[in-house]
């Protein structure tokens, strides 16, 4: 008896994601083109289209490991962790963790962090452009109240940390980059990733700045963020850092909604 639609669809998904697409138990009509060959067309499309989507999102990882290696990595990932939604830009959140556990991480220990940077850039690119806090917005705030102001990061802004020189690895992977070796182990990276009007980008942060930015969550005041920054960098220059972050346009004053949902 033919399976019901629900069973048929469940079986087909399992078969299309399996390691190989051999003989099928499904009621697929075959003729001079066998059912297995017909199924392979869908299997190829599923794996190759999702692999291409991952190559678009993780473009630095893709350039770093090359076409063949990325194809193999991404296809294995698709089979292990297929998408749970139809929006391709939202697929791959767990790819960096998959790379952490992959044998390739022994050879390229920074690979998962590069993937984290790619993912953060993808998230920032797909975040709404918000009007950031400007110096003028604070002009009417009495000086003694400034430390009490509650500020959050604009949508998509985030800090990516790594024990490896991520910014230099990223730069070396850009299409026009000169073929210089990147010296590993010299310094780690604290990168602030954020949405810009036409794309997403990042800048490097000092240790105090990174702690300050990481503290800008709803409910936290500027004073608390400054204390966190001074905790990791006693000489932290608050006015200088605050002016720099203002110029980058990555801060927003918390609204009541932020405080409720945050």
């Amino acid at each position: 008896m033919a399976p019901g639609l629900r069973e048929l669809q469940a079986a087909l998904v399992t078969q299309l994601l399996s390691a190989s697409c051999g003989e099928s138990e499904l009621p697929i009509a075959g003729d001079s083109i066998p059912a297995a060959a017909r199924l392979r067309i869908h299997r190829h499309h599923v794996l190759s289209s999702l692999s291409k989507a991952l190559a678009g999102t993780f473009c630095t990882v893709h350039r770093l490991v090359g076409e063949d290696c990325f194809k193999s990595l991404s296809r294995d990932f698709v089979q292990a962790e297929p998408p749970c939604g139809p929006v391709l830009a939202e697929y791959g959140a767990t790819f960096p963790f998959y790379l952490d556990a992959h044998p390739l991480a022994r050879e390229l220990p920074y690979l998962a962090d590069v993937a984290r940077l790619d993912w953060a850039l993808n998230r920032a690119f797909h975040s709404p452009l918000e009007r950031p806090l400007a110096g003028a917005d604070l002009a009417h705030v009495p000086t003694e109240e400034l430390p009490l102001q509650r500020v959050r990061l604009t949508a998509g802004a985030t800090v990516v940390r790594s024990a490896y020189p991520l910014a230099r690895i990223w730069a070396a992977c850009q299409p026009d980059a000169p073929e210089d070796d990147v010296e590993l182990g010299v310094e780690g990276a604290r990168l602030l990733v954020f949405r810009r009007p036409d794309d997403a980008g990042f800048v490097g942060l000092g240790e105090g700045e990174a702690a300050f930015v990481s503290s800008l969550v709803p409910g936290c005041s500027l004073e608390e963020a400054a204390i966190a920054a001074m905790g990791v960098e006693p000489g932290f220059d608050l006015p200088l850092a605050f002016a720099r972050l203002l110029a980058l346009g990555i801060m927003l004053r918390c609204s009541k909604d932020d405080l409720v949902t945050g």
Partner: protein, 279 residues
């Protein structure tokens, strides 16, 4: 909307479209590429002031036995309300089962059970949108042995049950007919022509399947001669409709795509003149 030809708006052409605003009948976007904020969505919101839009969804999975994904449906409805397109369409296919999405337009067995599943899903979609949706005939690479209806019979029933429109993809008819050994003219004869709201055109590739040629709907080349002829036959049978030229892989420079749309426009024009003479 007038029966004009338009193009699929793809990311490599976005900046040029915004800058140059070349003449074309309408722009089509894939809903799932614009559900998140991005500079690309901002560009589409800018372009919609000058061009009618068609929102073509590829991930609603109207053929899923487990029903529609409520969260995804809500996002698509939000996009449609925001962009107010001239058309909304989806495919007669599925891509979701057990919470996993396969990013493909997978084929359905054409049975009474499937008909009832798809009709329920289309009803729910049209109710959520508060407007008619057109369903596109898929490119098929396989058929299920237990199907009891032909594809045009299935589409015809679906139109009767839900009042949905049909999006007739001439390339998909050719691909399906070749791959499943069907006669495209027979296929067209059974279709309820008045439900057709739009035509699609695209190129296809020829691959090898265990020594036999099989056609792949890859949207990666110019429309083939045989598909142009099928398009002309569709216009002769059903009349002109707004027509989209799609190009999704090996995307050419924008002028090539506009050239294909101009050829479609000419075929619509020829069809109108021929129709007027016949009348």
């Amino acid at each position: 909307m007038r029966s004009v030809a338009g193009i699929g708006l793809r990311s490599p052409h976005l900046a040029q479209m915004v800058r140059e605003r070349p003449a074309t009948g309408f722009l089509e976007i894939h809903a799932e590429n614009y559900l998140l904020s991005s500079p690309a969505l901002a560009a589409v919101e800018d372009l919609r002031r000058d061009y009618p839009l068609s929102v073509h969804a590829v991930g609603l999975s109207l053929g899923s036995a487990e029903g529609l994904d409520a969260a995804h449906l809500e996002r698509v409805v939000g996009l449609v309300k925001r962009l107010q397109p001239a058309f909304v369409s989806e495919h007669l296919s599925w891509s979701r089962s057990g919470g996993r999405y396969l990013n493909d337009l997978l084929p359905l067995p054409y049975t009474e059970e499937t008909l009832s599943v798809v009709a329920d899903n289309v009803d729910r979609l049209q109710q959520a949108l508060g407007r008619q949706v057109s369903l596109e005939n898929p490119s098929c690479y396989l058929a299920f042995g237990h199907s009891t209806l032909s594809e045009p019979e299935f589409l015809s029933e679906l139109v009767d049950r839900t009042g949905c429109g049909l999006l007739l993809d001439a390339n998909n008819i050719h691909v399906t007919a070749h791959n499943l050994r069907l006669d495209p003219q027979d296929w067209l004869r059974t279709l309820p022509g008045t439900a057709i709201t739009q035509y699609h055109l695209a190129g296809h590739a020829v691959n090898d399947a265990d020594g036999e040629p099989i056609l792949i709907d890859d949207h990666g080349s110019r429309v083939s001669d045989v598909v142009w002829r099928l398009f002309a036959a569709s216009i002769a049978q059903f009349g002109p409709r707004p027509t989209l030229v799609e190009w999704d892989t090996d995307i050419p420079p924008l002028p090539v795509l506009l050239e294909e749309a101009a050829s479609a426009e000419q075929a619509l024009q020829d069809g109108r003149q021929h129709g007027a003479r016949a009348a």
